[in-house]
């Protein structure tokens, strides 16, 4: 059997294992191992099972992920999310859509100190959702806002998935973060526009709050000093070149720890919970990377990527057509996989296609993250939606999906803009 056929069988076997409840990282690892063994022998394959996880565990580039995870957990424990929410409410709460707009701005702000969409959704599911429901927002609308806002956790740098993409594609993490700045801003603007349109059409659905006097609004900004300082230290340190990404993440961890401690929010039990949450979430990512590394060896050895590129060439599709097809594939995958898995499973196949067409891998990385964000909102298994439904079972899935619709349209527009105008992504890294 030729290697390309082995690779295609391997791909099918991987999906079959995933469908049979095998964790995604393990499914990739097992299939990668068996496929690699079928071409290079079992001795070489079994050696991979030690060397690849070992190099992943010792990688200093990937060490940023547990640090960001820990920083996010400490920030949440220290009450930074509540501070950011209070500030955002004072600034935009009186506008159409009031608390909904507040949630989006606060989610973006929290995204700057936490690199995970699921963590952002869970945090604001606790902080913002009860507030909106108490002020008369419908369950579907409020959960929809939180779910959409949660996706900002991965598009606003720093973002764990961007670190992972950069490491796996051998790109600069700093360039990825710079490239994400304008798309992140665009996402916030489009989400706020969606809220504004919905609130204007049906003010009862999303009532605004009273406008605070200027003095109170300035005071509210002051209340978020911890979050603002943390974002400045981490992002400012990275962009100014004073710190490396690892150093900025480490300083962020220490700051978030001292802040939570100083506020009296970190007792023994919370500290244990923070460490436990961050450690388990970190290993979830590492297990996927173990599998992805082994699977990538198998895919590279099989040469299937070249065959796929040849097949696409034979179709005669223009590059834009290929990108459009890939966008559809990712929207589909994103509805089934979590953010890390969808990127990692496809990267060995998709990246060679992107590079062969002459596209910038940084541009594709940002587009990829944005697409995964959309997938986290779309049925059948938008993971943010499932999470909110698990947190508030009185809000039905269909109601949340209805609440998301306006944001889905905003996301489609964002994807279109990012795909058609690569300079939206690439301009900032080019001048920094």
């Amino acid at each position: 059997m030729d290697p390309a056929s082995v690779a295609l069988i391997g791909f099918a076997a991987m999906f079959a294992l995933i469908a049979l409840h095998v964790p995604i990282g393990v499914a990739m690892g097992v299939v990668g191992l068996a496929g690699f063994a079928s071409m290079a022998g079992w001795n070489a394959a079994l050696t991979l099972l030690a060397t690849e996880p070992a190099s992943t565990m010792a990688s200093l580039d990937l060490a940023v992920i547990p640090l960001f995870m820990l920083m996010g957990s400490l920030a949440a424990a220290g009450g930074l999310a509540k501070d950011i929410f209070a500030t955002a409410e004072a600034l935009v709460g009186h506008r159409p859509g009031g608390l909904a707009a507040t949630t989006i701005v606060a989610s973006a702000g929290f995204g700057a100190v936490c690199g995970s969409a699921v963590a952002t959704t869970a945090t604001f599911g606790r902080v913002a959702l009860p507030e909106m429901l108490a002020r008369g927002y419908s369950g579907g609308s409020s959960a929809g806002v939180v779910a959409a806002g949660g996706t900002l956790g991965i598009i606003v740098p720093p973002s764990s998935i961007m670190v992972l993409y950069a490491v796996l594609t051998e790109q600069s993490v700093l360039t990825m973060f710079s490239a994400a700045m304008i798309p992140a801003l665009l996402s916030v603007v489009l989400y706020l526009s969606a809220i504004w349109i919905v609130a204007r059409r049906n003010p009862a659905l999303m009532p605004g709050t009273d406008k605070l006097p200027l003095r109170d609004r300035i005071r509210a900004i002051g209340r978020s000093w911890g979050a603002i300082l943390l974002a400045i230290i981490v992002l400012g340190g990275i962009y100014s070149g004073i710190f490396t990404v690892n150093e900025a993440a480490a300083i962020g961890v220490v700051f978030a720890f001292l802040f939570a401690l100083g506020r009296g929010k970190l007792n023994r039990q919370t500290f244990v919970e923070v460490l436990s949450d961050a450690s388990v979430a970190t290993v979830m990512i590492y297990v996927i990377v173990f599998g992805a590394m082994i699977f990538s060896y198998f895919v590279s050895l099989s040469g299937v990527s070249e065959e796929i590129i040849g097949g696409i060439d034979a179709l005669g599709l223009p590059p834009a057509g290929v990108i459009f097809l890939l966008i559809l594939v990712y929207l589909f995958l994103g509805a089934f996989f979590d953010e890390v898995a969808a990127v990692v499973v496809t990267l060995p196949f998709v990246l060679p296609i992107i590079l062969s067409m002459g596209y910038d891998p940084i541009w594709w990385g940002i587009l990829n993250v944005a697409l995964i964000g959309v997938g986290m909102l779309t049925p059948p298994i938008g993971i943010n939606v499932m999470l909110l439904n698990a947190m508030r079972s009185d809000i039905s899935l269909s109601a949340i999906y209805r609440g998301i619709f306006a944001f889905f349209l905003a996301d489609c527009l964002r994807i279109l803009i990012l795909a058609v105008f690569p300079q939206v992504t690439l301009w900032l890294p080019s001048i920094l």
């Binding site: 409840h21 095998v22 961050a278 979830m284």
Partner: protein, 181 residues
């Protein structure tokens, strides 16, 4: 059996906590290094050396807890649609695959750590021997495989209970985590 299960799961939690407490210490060291370097041009020597060896141990120390809490990302749609018995069969199958994966990984890590010992490899700046760290990582992986074996045993008992149609015989398993789909 229950007492052993509780003991092992508690041990995984403490191991992970110890690992991440180590990460916190590493973050403090890295911060000091960065601040001393940028403020006084006097960096701490060997921080990268420490990071490279400690990170492997930190991650390996968290794997048993991750397995004990069944917190790996999996798509459990089929079992959800097909009913509780099929769900338990699939859980057992997935558990066996995970056991095989981590079992073989632990098995291959032992000669890997041994290779580090035999080659006498040391870190660049501090010249620390590397093998003790990898030996610790290998040990934690062996523990992780044992934890997964316990999970599988629990799944077998749960499946037996489900087929005997005695719901009370089914041991409590953890609910699906927030991150799972």
């Amino acid at each position: 059996m229950d007492a052993l299960d509780r003991f092992v799961r508690r041990a995984t939690l403490w191991l992970a906590l110890l690992g991440f407490a180590g990460l916190l210490l590493l973050a403090v060291m890295t911060s000091l290094d960065a601040l001393l370097r940028s403020a006084f041009s006097a960096p701490l020597h060997g921080v990268n050396d420490v990071s490279a060896v400690v990170m492997a141990v930190v991650i390996a120390s968290c794997i048993p807890a991750n397995l004990a809490q069944r917190r790996n990302i999996a798509v459990e749609v089929l079992g959800g649609v097909a009913g509780p018995r099929t769900h338990r069969i699939l859980t057992l199958f997935a558990g066996l695959v995970v056991l095989a994966f981590f079992g073989v990984m632990a098995w291959k890590f032992i000669p890997y750590a041994e290779g580090m010992y035999l080659s006498g490899r040391r870190t660049w700046v501090l010249a620390w021997p590397v093998w003790p760290w990898w030996a610790a990582a290998a040990l934690f992986l062996v523990f992780a495989a044992a934890v997964q074996a316990l999970n599988v045993l629990q799944d077998v008992i749960a499946l037996k209970g489900a087929f005997a149609d005695r719901p009370s015989a089914v041991p409590q398993t953890r609910p699906l985590p927030e991150g799972d789909a």
